[in-house]
C-alpha cells in the first residue's frame, strides 16, 4: 500500500496510457468511433520514448498499450497476419476502442465534477445542532460494572514500571513453554495461559506464540462463541 506521500506520476500531463491515447485522438481531431487505432502507433511511441525518467512499472503500462497499437497497425498493413489473430488472446481493436470510449466518458465526467468543485457552489449542513445524549435503554448496573472495570484498569501498575528489560519474554521462549504445557495437558485455555495479571507485552507474546504454533500445525484452536475463551488443543496426529 502506498502512503500519503506515495509516488504519483503524470507524464507531461498524461495520467496513464489511455489518457495519452485519447489526447492524441483529440489533438489530431479524429473521430474516436472511426479512427484506426493502429495509425496512432507511431505518434504514441514517439510520446512514450520521452518517458524514460519514469519508474519501470509506470512505463510498462504505457508500453503494453504501445505494443497493442503496433500489432493493430501491423495487422492492417499485412492482412496475411489475420489468421494469427485467432491465436492472439489480447484485446481486439473493437475492445480497445470500447475501453477508450468508456475512458472518454469518465474523463468528461471528471471534468464536469472538477468544474463544479471550482465554482465553489457547495452545500453546508448544520454543525453541532444535536446534543449527544447517552443511548437510551442503558442499565444502571451495566454502567456501574463498566465503571468498576475502568477503575481496575486505572489502578493497575504501569507495564514499564513492572518489567525490567531483562525480563522481557521472547516469542521463542513462550512458544517452547506453551508447547511443554500442551504436551503435558492436551488442552488449555487462553485465559490460563495469560495467568491472572497479564501485562500487554505478555499477552501479545503469548498470542503470537499461539499463532506460530497453529501455523506449524502443533495445536488446534477453538472458540465456541464470540468473546468466549479460546481453547488450545494439542493437534491429533493422524
Amino acid at each position: 500500500m502506498l502512503g500519503p506521500e506515495g509516488p504519483h506520476v503524470t507524464v507531461e500531463g498524461f495520467d496513464g496510457p489511455l489518457d495519452l491515447l485519447l489526447e492524441l485522438v483529440e489533438e489530431k481531431k479524429l473521430d474516436i468511433l472511426t479512427v484506426k487505432l493502429g495509425d496512432l502507433a507511431d505518434a504514441y511511441l514517439a510520446r512514450v520514448r520521452a518517458l524514460d525518467a519514469l519508474p519501470a512499472d509506470e512505463v510498462s503500462a504505457f508500453l503494453a498499450l504501445a505494443s497493442r497499437l503496433v500489432l493493430l497497425k501491423a495487422r492492417s498493413l499485412l492482412p496475411s497476419l489475420l489468421p494469427l489473430a485467432e491465436m492472439d488472446e489480447g484485446e481486439s481493436e473493437e475492445e480497445l476502442r470500447a475501453r477508450l470510449l468508456e475512458y472518454a466518458v469518465v474523463r468528461e465526467r471528471a471534468t464536469a465534477l472538477g468544474d463544479r468543485l471550482r465554482s465553489g457552489e457547495r452545500g453546508f449542513h448544520r454543525e453541532g445542532g444535536t446534543p449527544e445524549l447517552p443511548p437510551r435503554g442503558g442499565e444502571v448496573l451495566a454502567l456501574a460494572a463498566a465503571w468498576t472495570k475502568v477503575l481496575a484498569l486505572a489502578s493497575r501498575p504501569r507495564e514499564e514500571g513492572m518489567v525490567a528489560p531483562g525480563e522481557r519474554y521472547s516469542v521463542e521462549e513462550r512458544t517452547a513453554e506453551i508447547e511443554a504445557i500442551i504436551a503435558a495437558r492436551e488442552q488449555v485455555t487462553f485465559t490460563e495461559l495469560l495467568s491472572t495479571d497479564p501485562t500487554l507485552g505478555w499477552a501479545v507474546v503469548t498470542f503470537i506464540a499461539l499463532l506460530d504454533l497453529y501455523r506449524r500445525g502443533v495445536i488446534d484452536l477453538e472458540q465456541i462463541e464470540l468473546f468466549a475463551d479460546i481453547l488450545i488443543r494439542r493437534k491429533q496426529t493422524a
Binding site: 502506498l2 498499450l65 457547495r122 452545500g123
Partner: protein
C-alpha cells in the same frame, strides 16, 4: 400552505446535525413512510428559491444550504475550498457514477493503478467502503459519501452532472465492467 406533516418533518431535520433516515422520520413524526415521502417532496418544492435545500443519500435526509450561497457560508465558517487533482477526479467520477465499485473495476477503466487516488479520496471522506462484493477475494466496494454530495453542491446522486455521452449510448460503453486488461 404546507401540510403540518411537512412542517413536522422540517422541524426534525432542522435540529438534526446528522442525516435522518426515512424510517426514523416516520417514527418520530408518527406517520407512515409513504406519508413521509410525500411530506419530503412537499418540503423540497417549498425550498425552491430559498437558501435551503433538502438533500438525500439513499434513504437518509438532511437540510443543507443552497449552493448559491456557499461563498457566504464559507466566509462565516472559515471553510477552505476543497482541491482535488485531475487523477483523483477521474477515480471519483467512476465511483460516483457506478457505485458500488471495486478498486479493480476502477483500475480497469482508467488503465492505471488507483491505490493512491482511492487513498486520497478516502482521506478526504469523499468516498467510503460499502461492504464487500461476494466474489472471489471478496474485494472492498466503494461508494460516495455525504461529504461528496455537499462538496459538489448536489442534493442527491440524481443531480450528478450528465455528460454529453450518456452511458449505454455507445455499444460496449457503460456495460458491466469486467477485468479487461490485456
Amino acid at each position: 400552505m404546507r401540510s403540518s406533516l411537512a412542517n413536522a418533518v422540517e422541524s426534525v431535520l432542522f435540529v438534526a446535525e446528522k442525516p435522518v433516515s426515512r424510517a426514523e422520520l416516520a417514527r418520530v413524526v408518527g406517520a407512515t413512510p409513504k406519508h413521509v415521502d410525500n411530506a419530503l417532496a412537499e418540503l423540497a418544492t417549498s425550498y425552491q428559491g430559498t437558501a435551503l435545500r433538502l438533500a438525500h443519500d439513499g434513504d437518509d435526509w438532511q437540510l443543507v444550504t443552497a449552493p448559491e450561497h456557499a461563498v457566504h457560508v464559507a466566509a462565516y465558517l472559515g471553510a477552505d475550498r476543497l482541491r482535488v487533482s485531475p487523477a483523483s477526479l477521474e477515480t471519483l467520477a467512476i465511483v460516483a457514477y457506478r457505485q458500488p465499485v471495486t478498486r479493480a473495476e476502477v483500475e480497469a477503466i482508467r488503465g492505471v493503478n488507483c491505490d493512491q487516488t482511492i487513498y486520497t479520496l478516502m482521506q478526504r471522506r469523499l468516498i467510503e467502503e460499502r461492504g464487500r462484493r461476494e466474489a472471489p477475494g471478496r474485494p472492498i466496494l466503494y461508494g460516495t459519501t455525504w461529504e461528496f454530495l455537499e462538496c459538489f453542491g448536489l442534493s442527491s446522486l440524481d443531480e450528478l452532472p450528465r455528460a454529453l455521452t450518456p452511458e449505454g449510448a455507445i455499444p460496449g460503453v457503460g456495460e458491466p465492467v469486467g477485468d479487461r486488461r490485456a
